[in-house]
């Protein structure tokens, strides 16, 4: 369980990190919190000769309030996000994910960037970020680009990031009036349990309490975080009654592409998606208040 010989390069700036990535690709990985990377190296899931350590790039760290929303630096730890006073009001739904994932020790090390760009299918942050319409700011020595979060991850541990490109920040747009979001997850333990399934919901209502916008995203039931586009079409313009919720749950179940593994069969996961969708919808709806 020792890490084979490896060279760690400490990048001081994004540009430097990007250059190092380009220089050593493909024999290189980024090192942020390290909670996944070190396990992968020890268990030889992959083996590389170089790590680019990002810890020194201070501007990648922290949560800031921007004109159009929240900017979460990629190196912000899960704990920092969880405890940030800016994660308040409608943003607080992020805590449904940050407060429950892994363990306190892992949350103190693991970063938002790692959880998102690590592209592990059971990562908890991407679904709620997708539901909240977040975007990813990608950076390389060639410049920056922005992609919708649902377009970032394309498969297990696979993203649209180019060889010399890094996730710099996640931007969560300022929620509109009468907005509520929630993430419901199911794990086999009360703590430190990988999600068997998870459903994130973000809703905004019109003055007449009909649905103005609705976004549903799923965790751990597809090769990548699953944005359930059809649910938006289904719900917009309707009152969120029991029937609407049941239909949305049915759509989510249909959209899921679960596998059977140790934690649950595909059928059970699909069933969980239905239950969790109803629960997340109810929780998000309740958070909107009167």
């Amino acid at each position: 369980m020792h890490i084979p010989s490896i060279e760690v390069h400490k990048a001081a700036t994004l540009q430097e990190a990007s250059a190092l990535l380009g220089r050593f690709s493909p024999d290189v990985r980024l090192l942020a919190g390290g909670t996944d990377v070190l396990v992968d190296l020890k268990t030889a899931r992959f083996s590389v000769g170089h790590l680019v350590a990002l810890g020194g790039i201070k501007k990648l760290r922290g949560v800031t309030e921007e004109r159009d929303g929240l900017r979460i630096g990629a190196l912000t730890t899960i704990t920092e996000l969880d405890r940030s006073p800016l994660v308040a009001g409608a943003y607080a739904a992020l805590r449904d994910a940050t407060s429950r994932m892994a363990t306190p020790q892992v949350r103190n090390a693991a970063t938002v960037g790692g959880n998102v760009a690590g592209a592990v299918p059971c990562a908890d942050l991407p679904p709620i970020l997708i539901a909240m319409n977040a975007t990813a700011l990608l950076s390389s020595d060639k410049g920056e680009r922005t992609v919708a979060l649902e377009d970032l991850v394309v498969g297990p541990r696979t993203t649209v990031l180019r060889d010399n490109e890094l996730l710099a920040a996640v931007n969560v747009p300022r929620p509109p009036e009468r907005f509520g979001a929630a993430y419901a997850r199911f794990g086999l333990r009360e703590a430190n349990a990988i999600a068997v399934a998870g459903v994130a919901v973000a809703l905004a209502l019109n003055d007449d309490r009909t649905v103005r916008s609705a976004r549903i995203a799923l965790c751990a039931v597809a090769p990548a975080p699953k944005f359930v586009k059809e649910a938006t079409r289904l719900l917009v313009g309707r009152v969120l009654d029991e029937r609407a919720c049941a239909q949305a749950a049915a759509l989510a179940m249909e959209a899921a592409e679960p596998i059977s593994d140790l934690r649950g069969s595909a059928e059970y996961r699909r069933e969980l998606v239905g239950t969790l969708t109803r629960r997340a919808l109810a929780a998000a709806h309740q958070r909107i208040g009167r």
Binding site: I6, V39, K42, N108, L188, T275
Partner: protein, 958 residues
Amino acid sequence: MFTARTFTINGQQYDVAIEDGETLLDVLRDRLHLTGTKKGCDSGDCGACTVLIDGEPLNSCLLLASTVEDRSITTIEGLARNGELTPLQKSFVAEGGLQCGYCTPGMVLSATALLERNPDPSTDEIKDALAGNLCRCTGYTGILRAVERCKNYLEGGQCAKPRGVEPSGVGASIPRIDAADKVTGRALYTADISLPYMVHGKILGSPIAHGLVKRIDVSKAKALPGVLAVLTGADVTDTKHGVSPARYDEDVLAKDKVRHIGDPVAAVAAVDEKTAERALKLIEVEYERLPVLTDAMEAIKEGAPLIHEKYKSNICTTVDFNFGDVETAFKESHYVREETFVGNNVFQSPLEPHASISTWSHDGNLTLYTSTQVPPYVQYMMAHLLHIPLGKIRVIRPAVGGGFGTKAATTPLDICSALLSRACGRPVKMVYSREEMFQYGRGRHKQHMKIKLGVDREGKIKAVKSEVHLDGGAYTSFGVATAYYAGSMIPTLYKIPNYRYDGYRVMTNKPACGAMRGHGVPQPRFAFECLLSMAADDLGIDPIEIRRRNAMTPNTMTVNDLDIGSCEFSATLDAVAGKSAWKDKYGKLPKGKGIGIGCGGFVSGAGYCIYRGQVQLSHEKGREPFQKKSIFPHANAVVRVTEDGEAAVLMIGAAEIGQGSDTVLVQMCAQSLGIPASRMRMQSADSEISPLDLGAYSSRVTFMAGHAVSRAGAMVLEKMKPYAAALLGCAASEVEARDGTVFVRGDASRSVLWAEVARKCFNADGPLVGTGWYKPPEGLGGDYKGATVGTSPAYSFGSSVCEVSVDLETGKVKIDKFTDYHDCGTPINPQGVHGQVEGAIVMGAGETVMEGVAFGDDGQLLNPNLHGYLIMTIKDAPEIFSGVVDSYEPRGPFGAKEIGEGSTLPVLGAVAHAIANATGVWIKDLPITPEKIVNAIRQKKAADAARRERRDEPVTAK
């Protein structure tokens, strides 16, 4: 490539050259020898390696040391200042916040960080903060109490106040004598020890579950710089090893065949562990694959491939118990029900991985440091394999981080470290990774149980019949005993007039199973308790009432000739019923809420030892004919009073593995000496200092070693009495001693200091020494085959009520509460007793709802880690009330019986019953996962609907 780095650890600067890929954990432990930080899983799942980085807890196994140079690092060694424990550490010590101590440094650091941030946390906040620190011993109850009460210690409140002279003898809840060492990181576990010039070994395990070894080429491994020795099956003895003498079937290293994933094939010693790991990858092995058997019920089929060719079938043990006439009794029964249950392959998962260090003297004596529960069995097996006398082997058992049965046999690490050390002439350390622990196994047998119960109109048991197939994995290990235990212990709890048990222990291509807490009994007990509760519901009898009607009574010989002495089983039933408000809840809870009862008990030490002959070299000697008595004493103690009379050193080889045996033995010895426990020193770790005690298995230590130490203490006091009598002017027979004072019985004013009398003894007679030993009574057990298994000088009894909430949509179970009462005789240390019960409840509840090693069809382990194999976190653990009923066992030391293993037995049935009560469905295969619950509820709904339809049919037809 090495780089010089500077670290700030506990306020001190350390300069050290390291490689870029080294984790902070390895740098702390291997380079700086700060071994208080523990390696439990090396994957961020267990929290044993927790350190504070700038005040926040992180897993040091997931940090590259090269990235934390500019951070402030706090390890467990840095908390106590100038030897003064922090208030939190004091609270852990006093409140029973630790047992084996392996999770303790991480736990204390996580709690320290919480209290820094939030000095007055709520219970939920504490649980959230400690959710990343797994504990396998305490059930988290003592830990939670310690953190909750820390404030009191901080403010010098009630808990922290000295209460004058504390009672410390028998019956007092004194803190564990090793607690301060364990909360400060000073306690040394095997992997923490470094010997001069020591090197490191690793074992190459088989990557396939069944196959022939066709060719091994170690030349590349041998050529790797830093490699000192490579061994394969060709280089080692042909002598086989194991546990049951009738079935030694394990090769040190594979001779011709591998039988499970991880089966040892080769062993390497190298200058460091990393090099040894690299060398393993360079060993070329060619295998011829054979068909893999992972299911016991497949392995018993005609024509199944044989896992051991020398046996006729894959059944390695057949048990046939037949007492009374079950068939007639079933015919005469008012109610008969038969059900099939399936257990799970539970792995003990102690937090401390198995570890061994071997070193040889120039004249051929072996010293073996090993994380074991059974030092004398290791010594015996090493003598057997190395073909040298026992007397040339010294076994040192450092602090052990939990065992629960997986450390109850000689491991490949013990053997290979000795062989490698002999080959390279240097001390060799070997430590299992978490994955290797699972591959070594020795967990609980998965049992397939068909069980039938017949009762009369009042619910009194007429007959019980069971057929059990135990899935034993690739080797026998403890399996012979396991198969017997699975049958012999069922009749100890209830009066069963007619009893039949057919047991079959089956070989499969999985890691060998062994003796896990409650050895063989928890799954049949679970099955029986479920069946009894089903019967009660069917007959309209309250489930506790049906147990009362059948409960064992004191001084009863069971149908299978087990001699029950003291028995307060009925009292435990009454106590749990009252304390849990059973009558107000059973059948009256809302849907999704459930309450259930389970009972169980165990032996207070096995009546017979695993090897029956003399303690001597055995491999060339035939097996001796069995006699119904112990040939040699099972527990032996020496106590020596220091020359100034101020302290007494207790020497006994009883294995402290976290259960607290050192502490209760010191208490009993101190009591019989007449001095406070604080004046005792314990030497239990070294076979060269301490006489033989068989070890920590079959829940035997308090009972058997307790007798030995109290007799040793009593002998010292007898020697002192004439001198005391002379000083006090009374007859020797009138002399008594208590708390360091010797006095005339009935007149405490005529007294003299104990130390003064002891000095007089030494001055006159030389060393003041007492010895004591214990043999189980002669003649235990009946005269049928297997009658010895289940015999014991005394039996424990207990009842547990479990309360659960079940999410009926997802199937998720939350175990809310446990109420437990035990008859463990008279407790020696009540806090220790409750600690065992609390730990057993959380372990037992976990194995009922979430634990189980999973295998692929090819025999691969699917979850050999602590994120796939789930054990309960502090947030899963229920609220627990643990009580003991008044009881006194005349055969026990100071009236005591066992608690460690028996406390597991009621748990599984209680949980299963509570879930059935909450959901309306019985899940009969373990673990009772959410998915199984949801599926069963759905099937029941469908069946109910079909039944309604059938009932309706005739009506519509008309």
